[in-house]
């Protein structure tokens, strides 16, 4: 199967996993931490930028353009470029990871708000809502499904990108992918990959539930 002699070794060395359960858990926590931090910060920045874009429509173009360009810079490069400035630190990883969430979340916030039916807005105005109240009480809740969908994609994407930060000494479970690659050790690669998948799927499922709980009116209308 693999190039260097691993014929005498099982694909998954459970003993190794057992012996390394502590560092593996540490890396798992690191992975979760890097992901959650990036998405939360990304959300905060995105909300800010979205509100600017919604207020001043002309700003939307440039904002999208810049975040789009950030998205096209490969994560490998962004991590590497930041190292001389911010070191082999969580900060370096987070600057890159947050940048990648921006395009997705901003786009979804704006699309979500834009997608609110004009009839509803008119009705709200008719009922005497102020713009501000209308925004927070009507537009945001109605835009929630789309916004949460964006968060969902951003989070799952981030979980994958975190693995690449292994090249600067972090990586969460990506550390085991890199290590396994450098020593041709299947178990390490599988632990790293499967672990990342589990984290991503867990987040994904969590977001599905979140979507449902935030839009109870959609649930009720289902037969």
């Amino acid at each position: 199967m693999s190039f260097l002699a691993q014929a005498d070794r099982a694909l998954i060395d459970w003993g190794w996993i057992d012996r390394n359960s502590s560092p593996i858990t540490d890396r798992l926590i690191e992975h979760l931490y890097l992901t959650v931090l990036a998405v939360v910060i990304g959300l905060v920045i995105s909300v800010g930028l979205s509100m600017v874009a919604l207020r001043y429509r002309r700003a939307y173009g440039p904002i999208t353009a810049v975040t789009n360009i950030m998205f096209t810079i490969p994560s490998l490069a962004l991590f590497a470029l930041l190292v001389p400035f911010t070191g082999l630190t969580v900060l370096t990883a987070e600057i890159a990871l947050v940048s990648y969430t921006l395009l997705i979340i901003i786009r979804n916030i704006v699309a979500g708000i834009d997608g609110v039916s004009p009839a509803v807005l008119e009705a709200a105005d008719g009922m005497g809502y102020t713009r501000r109240r209308r925004f927070w009480k009507i537009e945001i809740p109605l835009a929630m499904p789309v916004i949460v969908a964006g968060l969902r994609i951003a989070t799952v994407t981030t979980v994958g990108l975190v693995t690449v930060s292994a090249i600067i000494g972090l990586g969460g479970l990506g550390f085991y992918i890199l290590r396994g690659l450098q020593t041709f050790f299947w178990t390490s690669v599988l632990v790293g990959t499967a672990g990342s998948v589990v984290i991503a799927v867990a987040f994904d499922v969590g977001f599905v539930f979140l979507e449902r709980s935030l839009t109870p009116w959609l649930q009720r209308s289902r037969p």
């Binding site: 190039f3 360009i69 096209t72 490969p74 994609i153 994958g160 890199l178």
Partner: protein, 231 residues
């Protein structure tokens, strides 16, 4: 900062940067064909089943769950598995990166195809059926033309992501623009190489995105485009 700039200048000024096996034109070409071929293979493999499932409008939930899981698998992990598995078979080279890139391109293409068919008004499909069209004719003559813009968008999204991720191939001695990034990072005076590689990938991605958008416009039938604009 000034040192950084001078290193970039150093790199751009070197002869080997522009000529020879490790030069910008060569790496650019490698990167382009690896990305394009991956997207093509993914399209050939994913689009027909996607269209079929989207047309039936059944099993879409299951299929999209599978696709979501696909999105959850890190490209880096697939790359590592591919290397451990196939290195003995295909040797060092670009092929090791293909599984990861194809797996990356598939989900957006699939998701967009299914979503695209959902936007086709059911009334139109019913009318076509009422007119006696075969299912096949409905797909090719009615649904696909209407769904085409969104499907193309899915391919475009996939293409750009693949271009950015193809850089990972360099981690396993692969070719492409990622080479500048990995090697530049490893070298002492490599900032110029690293920066150039990053910029080139971004430029390539943006160019492909623009070119593809233009292509999308060309390919979309006039009537649909007009209808889309009116919406």
């Amino acid at each position: 900062m000034s040192e950084f700039v001078s290193r970039v200048g150093e790199f751009l000024g070197a002869g080997s940067t522009w000529q020879g096996s490790g030069s910008i034109p060569v790496r650019l070409w490698e990167h382009l064909w690896i990305s394009t071929l991956s997207v093509l293979i993914a399209a050939v493999v994913i689009l027909p089943p996607a269209v079929f499932i989207a047309h039936r409008r059944k099993g879409a939930l299951l299929a999209s769950s599978i696709v979501n899981i696909g999105r959850a698998v890190p490209s880096f992990g697939i790359l590592a598995i591919a290397v451990l598995w196939f290195l003995g078979v295909v040797g060092l080279g670009p092929w090791l990166a293909f599984p990861a890139l194809i797996a990356l391109a598939a989900p957006p293409m699939f998701t967009n195809t299914v979503a695209a068919f959902e936007t086709v008004p059911p009334g139109v499909v019913e009318a076509a059926r009422g007119m006696g069209m075969t299912e096949r004719r409905i797909i090719t003559g009615v649904e696909l033309p209407l769904a085409l813009p969104v499907i193309m968008e899915g391919i475009r999204i996939a293409y750009v992501q693949v271009i950015a991720t193809a850089t990972l191939a360099a981690l396993v001695a692969g070719p492409g623009l990622g080479r500048f990034i990995v090697d530049g990072f490893a070298k002492r005076r490599g900032e110029g190489e690293l920066f150039t590689g990053a910029v080139l990938v971004a430029l390539l991605a943006v160019s492909i995105e623009m070119a593809f958008s233009a292509f999308e416009k060309m390919v979309t039938p006039m009537g649909i485009r007009r209808a889309g604009n009116e919406r």
